[in-house]
C-alpha cells in the first residue's frame, strides 16, 4: 500500500443554509478544495451522505455530484454508514489511493436536512427498524438509554454531560464555519427542554445543512499541491450490534473501541501519542463514551476528566477544538470529513484561535447510529 496524503480541504459553513440545495452544498465545498490545491481534475469522487433519498428524495449522488462539479465521466459513488458516512467515504478514498488504483481522489460529505423532511424519522432509520424504531424509540432516545446506563454504572452526572456542551461551545465560538458561535453556560444547558431524559436540547447536536471535502493523493505527489501535506497514518473501522438491546454493555461503545484499536495498531501508536482529536459528540454522552472507548480516559472517568478541563484547549488531550458536532453543527454525511479538516488545519498550524500548540499527530472518530459503526483515522504532520 502507498502512503497517502491530504493536500487540500474545503467546507461550507454549517447551519440552516436555505439558499443552498444538496447539490449546491457539495459543489461549494468541492470547488473550494480544488481551488486550494490548484487541481484541475480528479480520478475519483466519494460522497459521504446518510440519506439524500429520505431528506430530499435524491439518491444516486455519485454521478449527480460529479456532473454538477462539471466532471461527468469521473468514477463517483455515494458511501453510507449513517452518521459515519463521511469517515467511511474518507476510508474508501484512502484505500483507492493507497492501493495504487487512483492518484487524485476527493473524499467528501454532504447533507441537506432543512428542506422539510421529518428529521426525527429520517435519523431514526440509522437504528434498527424492526426492533427499535417500530416501538417508538428515537435517535436521541437511544443515546439517552446509553446515558442512563452510563450514569448507573459509573456515577456520571447531568453536570458531566453539560460540561461537554459548554466546552464544545467555547471552542466553536472560535470557529468561523460553526453553526453556533456563542458560548453556553452550565445553567443554560441544564435548563434547556428535555428531548429524551436525561438528554436536553443543549446536549444534542443540531439539525444542519453543510458539505466538506478533502483531496487525497499519494504522499510522493503531495508537494505538487501543497507545501504542508498531512499524512493519513492509519484507518480503522468496526461494526457492532445494530440494536442497543443486543450490545454486551449499553454504556460501552464496542465498535469505537475496536476501530480505535485497529487504527492505533496500524499506526504503531498509543492513545497518549495523540495531540488533538475530533470525536463524534452527536450527544454529550457520546463524547464521554468515546473518550473511554479510545482510552483517552479510564472507564467511567470521562465525566470527571471533562469537568477538570483535560479535554479542553490547553488541556491534556484537546478534544473537538472545532466545536464538535454540538457547536459546529452536524450535517450528517459531512461530519466525518469536517472532523478530518479540523485535524488537517491543526497539523498545519492553521487553526487560528483554536490552535493546539505543536500538534503533530491527530485522531478523528466518526460513528453511525447508536454506535453500530465506527471509523477512526490517525493523521500526522509530514
Amino acid at each position: 500500500m502507498r502512503e497517502v496524503a491530504i493536500v487540500a480541504a474545503g467546507m461550507t459553513p454549517f447551519g440552516e443554509l436555505w439558499q443552498r440545495s444538496l447539490r449546491d452544498l457539495f459543489v461549494d465545498a468541492a470547488l473550494e478544495t480544488l481551488r486550494h490545491a490548484r487541481a484541475d481534475h480528479l480520478d475519483a469522487i466519494y460522497v459521504g451522505n446518510m440519506s439524500g433519498g429520505q431528506f430530499v428524495g435524491q439518491e444516486h449522488l455519485g454521478p449527480l455530484m460529479a456532473d454538477h462539479l462539471g466532471m461527468a465521466g469521473v468514477p463517483a459513488t455515494r458511501v453510507e454508514s449513517a452518521c459515519a458516512s463521511g469517515g467511511a467515504a474518507l476510508r474508501a478514498a484512502f484505500l483507492e489511493v493507497a492501493s495504487g488504483m487512483s492518484d487524485l481522489v476527493l473524499a467528501s460529505g454532504v447533507e441537506k436536512m432543512n428542506d422539510g423532511a421529518d428529521v426525527t424519522g429520517v435519523l431514526a432509520s440509522a437504528a434498527d427498524q424492526e426492533s427499535e424504531v417500530y416501538h417508538g424509540v428515537t435517535f436521541p432516545g437511544l443515546y439517552a438509554l446509553i446515558a442512563r446506563a452510563h450514569m448507573a454504572a459509573h456515577g456520571t452526572t447531568e453536570a458531566d454531560l453539560a460540561a461537554v456542551s459548554v466546552k464544545n461551545h467555547r471552542h466553536g465560538a472560535r470557529n468561523p464555519k460553526a453553526q453556533f458561535r456563542h458560548e453556553v453556560t452550565t445553567e443554560q444547558v441544564m435548563a434547556s427542554s428535555l428531548v429524551a431524559d436525561p438528554l436536553r436540547l443543549l446536549h444534542c447536536s443540531p439539525v444542519s445543512d453543510g458539505a466538506a471535502a478533502v483531496l487525497l493523493c499519494p504522499l510522493t505527489r503531495a508537494k505538487e499541491f501543497t507545501d504542508r501535506p498531512v499524512r493519513i497514518r492509519a484507518s480503522g473501522m468496526a461494526t457492532s450490534s445494530m440494536a442497543l438491546a443486543d450490545r454486551r454493555d449499553p454504556a460501552f461503545l464496542d465498535a469505537v473501541s475496536v476501530a480505535g484499536g485497529r487504527a492505533y495498531a496500524m499506526a504503531g501508536l498509543a492513545p497518549t501519542d495523540i495531540d488533538v482529536a475530533e470525536v463524534h459528540d452527536c450527544f454529550a454522552i457520546a463524547e464521554l463514551c468515546v473518550l473511554e472507548a479510545l482510552c483517552f480516559t479510564e472507564r467511567g472517568r470521562s465525566g470527571e476528566a471533562t469537568r477538570a478541563g483535560e479535554t479542553a484547549l490547553g488541556g491534556r488531550i484537546p478534544v473537538n477544538t472545532s466545536g464538535g458536532l454540538k457547536s459546529k453543527g452536524h450535517p450528517v454525511g459531512a461530519t466525518g470529513i469536517a472532523q478530518v479538516i479540523e485535524i488537517f488545519e491543526q497539523l498545519r498550524g492553521e487553526a487560528g484561535e483554536r490552535q493546539v500548540r505543536d500538534a503533530a499527530v491527530g485522531l478523528t472518530q466518526n460513528m453511525g447510529g447508536s454506535g453500530a459503526s465506527a471509523v477512526v483515522h490517525i493523521l500526522e504532520r509530514v
Binding site: 426525527t120 424492526e130 417508538g136 428515537t138
Partner: protein, 130 residues
C-alpha cells in the same frame, strides 16, 4: 408500513417467538438465520415469557410523528427470563417511575396507526407489575 413487512414480523411481534442457538445457547429475539454469538445456523424456536426486567430506560419527549400524541413516554431495554433483550415502551406508568431492575409484564398493545387509512400495527409494551 407496507403490509408484507408488517406481516412477516407477526410471529415475533404478536407471540414473542425467538430463537435459541443450539451451539452456544444464546436466545436471540427476533430470531435470525445466523446466531450473532457463534455464527451457528438453524436456531430452535422458543417463545419468550411475557415478562422481564428493565435493564436501562429513558423517557422520549421529542417523538417521531406517529408517536407524538403519546409523548412523553418511557422506553426501556427489557430482559426476559430466557435471557433475550428487547426494546419496548413502558405503558401505564409514570414516566419517572421506571428504574433499572423494575419487573414488567409484556402486554399486547397497538403500537402505531398508519394515519387515518393505513394498517394498524400491534406488538407488546412493558407494564410494571403490582
Amino acid at each position: 408500513m407496507p403490509s408484507p413487512r408488517y406481516w412477516r414480523e407477526i410471529p415475533a411481534r404478536y407471540r414473542l417467538e425467538a430463537g435459541r442457538c443450539g451451539g452456544c445457547g444464546k436466545v436471540v429475539f427476533p430470531t435470525r438465520p445466523v446466531c450473532p454469538g457463534c455464527r451457528g445456523e438453524g436456531l430452535e424456536p422458543v417463545t419468550l415469557s411475557r415478562r422481564g426486567r428493565v435493564v436501562t430506560s429513558t423517557v422520549i419527549h421529542v417523538a417521531p410523528t406517529e408517536f407524538q400524541m403519546e409523548a412523553p413516554y418511557p422506553m426501556a431495554v427489557v430482559e426476559t427470563p430466557e435471557g433475550a433483550r428487547l426494546m419496548v415502551q413502558i405503558a401505564d406508568c409514570e414516566a419517572d417511575a421506571v428504574q433499572p431492575g423494575m419487573e414488567v409484564t409484556l402486554e399486547f398493545r397497538r403500537l402505531r396507526k398508519e394515519g387515518k387509512s393505513g394498517i394498524l400495527c400491534y406488538g407488546h409494551k412493558g407494564v410494571p407489575i403490582g
